[in-house]
C-alpha cells in the first residue's frame, strides 16, 4: 500500500536534485524565494535549462519525444523540483497543448508543434475562459466559422495568463451553434501574431500583469490548426482536466514555503511564540496528510488502478494549504509587510527585509489557486458526482 522507493528511484531523485541545484542561478532562486516578479526571460532561460536535459516536457512519454518517466519518477521529479526555489515552469505548452496534440493530433501536427513545445522554443497560452464562461466552460461564445481552408474567429477570451508573452494559444471555440453546447466546441491552435488579435493586460490585485484579455476580430486560422475532430473540443478539454489534476497538490512547494516561514519565525525570535508555533505545527500536519494522500494515490496508480477524478482532492487541499501558508507569512511579518515597493517586487531594488516585502503580494496572488485549473467548487462538484455518486 505505501510507496517504498527503490534504489533506482532514489538515484533518480539524487540526479534531479543535483542537476537542478547545479543549474539554478542564485539570483533567480532569490527572486523565487522572495516572490518577486519574474520576466519572460527569467522563465524561458530557466526552461531552456530544463529542456537541455529533456526535463521541460517532463511528463511526456518517449513516443512524443519526452523522457518517458515512470509515474514514480514523475512524482519524485516534482518533489525535488518543489524543494528548490525553481520558477514554476509555464505549463500551457508542456502540460496542456502538448498532451492534446500527442494524444489527438495527426502526424503532421505532431511534427510541427511538439518539438517547439518540448524544446521551449514557443511560449504558449490557454484560451479557455471568457467573460461569460468561467467555471461553466460550455457557455463560451467565441465563434470559428469555416470558410474554405480557414476558420474566421471572432470573440473574446479573458484571464489568459501570459497571452502578452505567448507565441501560440490553444483555444476552445464554437464551431457549431445549433447542437447542444458541449457538442459544438472545437480545439484550435492560434498563432498569436495573426492579424486581428489584440492583447490587453489586466492588472491584478497584487499589482502584477500576468492575466490578459484577448480579442479576436476576424482572425483567420488555417483548418490544419484544428486538433482532432470538429465538435470534439469538449472531450479534449475534459481529458486535460484529469491530466492536470494529479500534479496539482503543490505539496513539495508548500513544504519548502513552510520551512522558509519557520526559518523567518526563528530569525524574528517568534518561533516560540505559542500561537505562531501552534499555527506552524497545524499547517505542517495538514501538509503531511496531503503528502500521504498523494503517496497512497500514487501507490494505487502504480498498482494499475486509474484514480481518475479522485485526484481532485489533491487540488482542493493543496491549494487551500498553499493559501493558508501565504496568509501565515503575512501574519508572521505583520506590520513589516506594510512597506510597499513596486521596484522591490520587480526585483529592481534590494531590501533589508525581503521576506516581509513580498508577503502581501504573494498572499493576494495566491487567491488565484482556488479559482483556476477548475475552481475548487468545480472540483467538489466532480467529486460529489463521480466519487460520492450524489445526483
Amino acid at each position: 500500500m505505501t510507496m517504498i522507493f527503490s534504489e533506482e528511484d532514489k538515484a533518480f531523485s539524487a540526479e534531479v536534485r543535483a542537476y537542478l541545484s547545479d543549474n539554478l542561478p542564485a539570483e533567480l532562486a532569490r527572486k523565487v524565494r522572495y516572490n518577486q516578479r519574474l520576466t519572460r526571460d527569467d522563465y524561458t532561460s530557466w526552461q531552456d535549462v530544463l529542456a537541455a536535459r529533456n526535463w521541460y516536457a517532463v511528463g511526456w512519454p518517449a513516443s512524443a519525444g519526452g523522457p518517458g518517466l515512470t509515474q514514480t519518477q514523475r512524482y519524485l521529479f516534482e518533489r525535488e523540483y518543489g524543494a528548490l526555489s525553481c520558477p514554476h515552469p509555464c505549463q500551457f505548452g508542456i502540460a496542456m497543448a502538448g498532451p492534446v496534440i500527442f494524444t489527438f493530433g495527426n502526424d503532421e501536427q505532431k511534427a510541427r508543434f511538439l518539438p517547439g513545445i518540448r524544446e521551449n522554443k514557443d511560449f504558449w497560452c490557454q484560451g479557455y475562459s471568457e467573460p461569460g464562461a468561467g467555471s461553466d466552460l460550455a457557455a463560451l461564445k467565441t465563434t470559428a466559422v469555416r470558410e474554405g481552408d480557414h476558420y474566421r474567429v471572432n470573440g473574446q477570451k479573458i484571464w489568459t495568463t501570459w497571452a502578452n508573452w505567448a507565441d501560440w494559444m490553444f483555444c476552445l471555440v464554437k464551431t457549431d451553434l445549433e447542437v447542444k453546447p458541449q457538442r459544438g466546441i472545437s480545439f484550435l491552435l492560434i498563432d498569436m501574431r495573426s492579424p486581428g488579435i489584440t492583447v490587453r493586460p489586466i492588472k491584478t490585485i497584487d499589482g502584477d500583469e500576468e492575466f490578459n484579455e484577448v480579442f479576436f476580430n476576424d482572425v483567420l486560422v488555417p483548418v490544419e490548426n484544428r486538433i482532432g475532430e470538429e465538435g470534439q473540443g469538449w472531450t479534449y478539454a475534459k481529458f486535460l482536466l484529469e491530466f492536470e489534476r494529479f500534479s496539482m497538490s503543490g505539496a513539495a512547494r508548500s513544504r519548502r514555503v513552510l520551512s522558509e516561514i519557520r526559518a523567518d519565525a526563528e530569525a524574528l525570535g517568534k518561533a516560540d511564540d505559542a500561537r505562531m508555533a501552534e499555527r506552524l505545527t497545524r499547517l505542517e500536519i495538514e501538509l503531511l496528510a496531503l503528502e500521504h494522500m498523494e503517496l497512497h494515490l500514487l501507490a494505487r496508480s502504480v498498482g494499475g488502478e486509474n484514480p481518475g477524478p479522485e485526484a481532485s482532492k489533491l487540488k482542493i487541499r493543496g491549494t487551500e494549504i498553499a493559501q493558508a501558508l501565504s496568509r501565515l507569512r503575512v501574519d508572521l511579518h505583520a506590520e513589516n509587510c506594510l512597506v510597499h515597493s513596486e521596484a522591490f517586487l520587480d526585483a529592481l531594488e534590494p531590501s533589508d527585509n525581503p521576506s516581509a516585502m513580498g508577503a502581501i503580494a504573494t498572499y493576494l496572488n495566491q487567491r488565484k489557486l482556488t479559482i483556476w485549473g477548475g475552481s475548487n467548487e468545480v472540483q467538489r462538484m466532480i467529486l460529489a458526482k463521480q466519487i460520492l455518486e450524489l445526483g
Binding site: 501552534e278 500536519i285 496528510a289 503517496l295 467538489r380 445526483g391
Partner: protein
Amino acid sequence: MSTNLDDELHMLTDTVARYVANRSDGKAQIENGWKELAELGWLYLPYPEEVGGLGLGTAGVSAVMQGHGRGLLATPYLPFAVMAGGVLARCPRGSHALAAVMEGEQRVAAAFAVGAAPTLAAHPAGAGWRLVGACDHVLSVDEADAVLAVARIGATEETGLFLVRADAPGVTITVQPLPDGRKAGRVGFDDVAVAAVDRLDEDGEAEALLREVETEALLAAAADNLGAMQVLYEQTLDYAKLRKQFGRPIGSFQSLQFRLVDMWIKLDEVRSLVASAAAAPDRNEAGALAVAAWIQSVWSGRLIGEEAIQIHGAIAMTDEHAVGRYVKRILVNELVFGAPERHFSRYRSMR
C-alpha cells in the same frame, strides 16, 4: 517477508470485518468480547516474535482497532493489549505477565494517561516499594486482574513501572462510567506494598519506553477513531441519498454535496496517515506519523461527527440512533488520549 506480512494483514483485516459484522447490530456497542479476542489470537499479534507474539506490530493493531471503532467494541484492546501489554513486552521482567496476557488469562489495565506526568509516587520500603496516590480514568479497570502503574520514584524526577494486583491490599477501584457507555475507573493506592520484582523497568529507561508505548497507543486510538468516522461518513452519505425533502433527496442539494465531499476528504486524510504510520519502516518517521495520525483523527473526527448529526437532522439527536454513539466514541477518545494541541510538541520532537 513483506509479502507474507501483507498476506497476514489482509487476512486479519478480513477476519476483523467479519467479526464486527457478525457481532454488531450497528447501533449498540459490543460487550464482553475479551474471550473472543483471545480465541481469535488477536492478543498475540502486537508483540514481536522474540517475546512470543505474532509480530504484526502497529499494522496489525491498527487493523484490529479500526474494527473496534467500526463496531463500537467495548473490549479494552487498546489499554490492555496495546498500552499495558506494550509495556510488558518491552521489559524482561514483564515476560511472565505478558505470556498470561497473550493467553487471555490475565487482564492488565493501564494506570497512566498518555502525555501526562505520573500522578502516583513510589517510595522505597525495604527491598520493595510502597505506592501512594491515585490515577483517574483508567479504561476498563473494573475488568482488570492487575494494573500497570506508572509512578514518580521518591523525590526524584525518575519514573518507575509497577505491576500491581487489582486485589492487593490498599488498592481501591471506583468505577467511573464514561459518556459513551464504556467504563473507566479511579484507582487509589493507599500505601500499597509492591515487591521489588514487580518493578518492571531498569533505572532510567522507563520514560523512553513509555514514550514508545504512548505513541503506539495514539496510533491505535487514531485507528479506533478512523473506524468510527468511516461508519459516520457512510451512514450520512447513504442517508443523504435516501432522505427526501422538497421532493428530492437532500443529497442533491449542492450545499450538502460539498459538505459530504469535505467529510470524505477529512476521512481520507486520516486513512492515509494511519496507513502510512502503520507501514512506515523507519521508526522515527513511524512515530511522527503516528502522532500526526492521532491529531488529524481528532480534527477530522470533530468535523465528521458534527456534520453527521447536522445532515441527519433531528433523528440523530435521538438516543436510539447510531450516529450519537459514534460521535460520543470519538469525543471520549479525544478526552482520554488528549486534544491535538497537547501533542504538538511531541510531534515536533519526533519529526
